[in-house]
Symmetry: C2
Subunit: 319 residues, 2 copies
């Protein structure tokens, strides 16, 4: 996203959270750990000094794993005491906070109640955005005011198109939920169930995702849009997705915990599955697919057995 923004000739400063990461990115002019092989243009500034980075900044974009979001927001707030130029805080996170089960923008709103808060979400593999491949993304904000419109138009060009949405809750839950179902799609791939089964799995998954999303306060149309359906198909079919790949490896016989422990990048869907499982229990909502994915990841259920039990539910009408 920083590379895209630099291409648009906006000033942009990257602020990696760990000092050694700041140094590595500065030295290599590349984010070797999380997006290797994409050189950062010279116009992108890199610093570990939040106060410096925030000076004169209009818009703060938060691109961290959701587990670090609250801490990051709190640090930013510390640096925004007194007069500052920040007009909006927008997150690109797609995961729930484990202790509170809150989605990303709710955390941001908690900490910045007087700023425009928002989410950017949709089918946006970072490598393709960096190259400048055509991409569409949804911007959902606490208010659809002139700042939201300015962010939309300032982030858009002929390669990246930003659409606005007023359904902030829906957009952020959609982004978190699709990671759960992408794990299931990866399990279908790992079990080599075939394209018919994967399509049927995704159809029922979209149905369940919409049901959950509405129960949590989102609008149906949002889940059929870029941040729901769009991100779901991209994640479930693209070669890039960490969540899909994670599911595939689980189906191939690796233990979920061992995969999580062995890699640097965060598999948001792994944590989100447990968070949503708890949320749905609170709401007494029956979601057979999410339940079986939870069984596989947290209760040692064999992936094939879980998928078979989904297939063998009683025959009935589709809807």
């Amino acid at each position: 996203m920083a590379i895209h923004i630099a291409r648009l000739n906006h000033g942009i400063t990257l602020v990696p959270r760990r000092l050694e990461h700041v140094q590595a990115v500065e030295a290599l002019r590349e984010n070797k750990d999380y997006l290797p092989n994409f050189p950062l243009p010279n116009s992108i500034k890199i610093t570990g000094d939040l106060a410096l980075a925030l000076k004169g900044t209009d818009i703060v974009l938060l691109a961290c794993p959701s587990v670090g979001l609250r801490t990051l927001c709190t640090s930013i707030r510390e640096n925004l005491k007194g007069k500052h130029s920040v007009k909006a805080v927008v997150t690109l996170c797609k995961g729930l906070e484990i202790s509170t089960l809150l989605p990303p923008a709710s955390i941001v709103k908690d900490i910045f109640p007087n700023l425009l808060c928002g989410v950017l979400s949709g089918p946006t593999f970072a490598g393709e955005v960096a190259i400048g491949k055509p991409t569409a993304i949804t911007l959902a904000t606490t208010q659809e005011d002139e700042i939201a419109v300015a962010i939309q138009s300032n982030l858009s060009n002929s390669q990246l198109r930003v659409y606005r949405s007023g359904d902030l809750i829906g957009v952020e839950y959609a982004g978190c939920l699709k990671n759960v179902y992408a794990i299931g799609a990866g399990i279908c791939d790992g079990l080599q169930l075939g394209d018919n089964a994967k399509a049927a799995y995704l159809t029922r998954s979209l149905h369940e995702l919409v049901k959950i999303g509405i129960a949590l306060g989102g609008q149906a149309q949002t889940f059929y849009g870029l941040s729901g359906f769009g991100d779901l198909v991209a994640t479930c079919f693209g070669p890039w997705s960490r969540n899909r790949t994670f599911g595939q490896r689980v189906a191939e016989g690796h233990s979920p915990q061992s995969i999580i422990d062995s890699q640097k990048t965060v598999v948001e869907g792994y944590w989100a599955t447990d968070c949503f499982h708890k949320l749905l229990a609170q709401k007494h909502l029956e979601c057979p697919i999410l339940k079986e994915i939870h069984n596989i990841l947290y209760a040692n259920k064999a992936p094939r057995e879980a998928l078979v039990s989904l297939m063998n539910r009683p025959l009935k009408s589709e809807v």
Copy 2:
């Protein structure tokens, strides 16, 4: 489908429409032209004699290109004069009749007004059904009576699951429409637009497909189900689809007409694009994606130019 039915120990007779095809399939015990490398079990009878095939038959399944559907139905009707055992006629076609713009079951109903008529539709690549890979399919019928329930349970086993739907119009239009949008997905592939762009294309396509389907009398939920969304993603991502492959070759520079002329198998979406284009003109429904696919296939518009003009429509909210 015949191989699946034979596995269920139901009697099944294949009736290829051309005499030389009857002879070829009989001689090889394989449908070399349309599904090579899948040997037909001995229990499947093969004949060119419709009268013989219909004797004692309960259910007629029509699996021909939609261009041949009315002629085939008319021949069957000729052979059902007087007493017969046929209880239902179910089509697997996914295309409109060029001269009347009617969808498949409407033609079947026209010709068999006193029989239960229906459609089987969904993400069902034939090769996977033949192998016995897990598959889910929708059965929509003129009435949801005990015959429909019997077809559902008699066609279902642990590999193939049949779901019922009362939205016959929706299910059949969904199957026809997805072929149009699959051509566009193939064009995205051929132009190497990337996964983000393809996901965005599919999101807008589903939106447009639902809009058209509702305007033609179907129910929104149908288009988000197996026969809409499910078949759309299978067709757009599976390696098997003739429609997706056709779009890809068009984007790679082959003329649509020359591809159509050079191959034995029917690309239903090519013909359906023109049929829907005419239907939408009658209904004054604006559908930018279908319009651009029509421009590419029938008005020599360069694929890249057409896709770029879709991307560059005015920025706005998503829904």
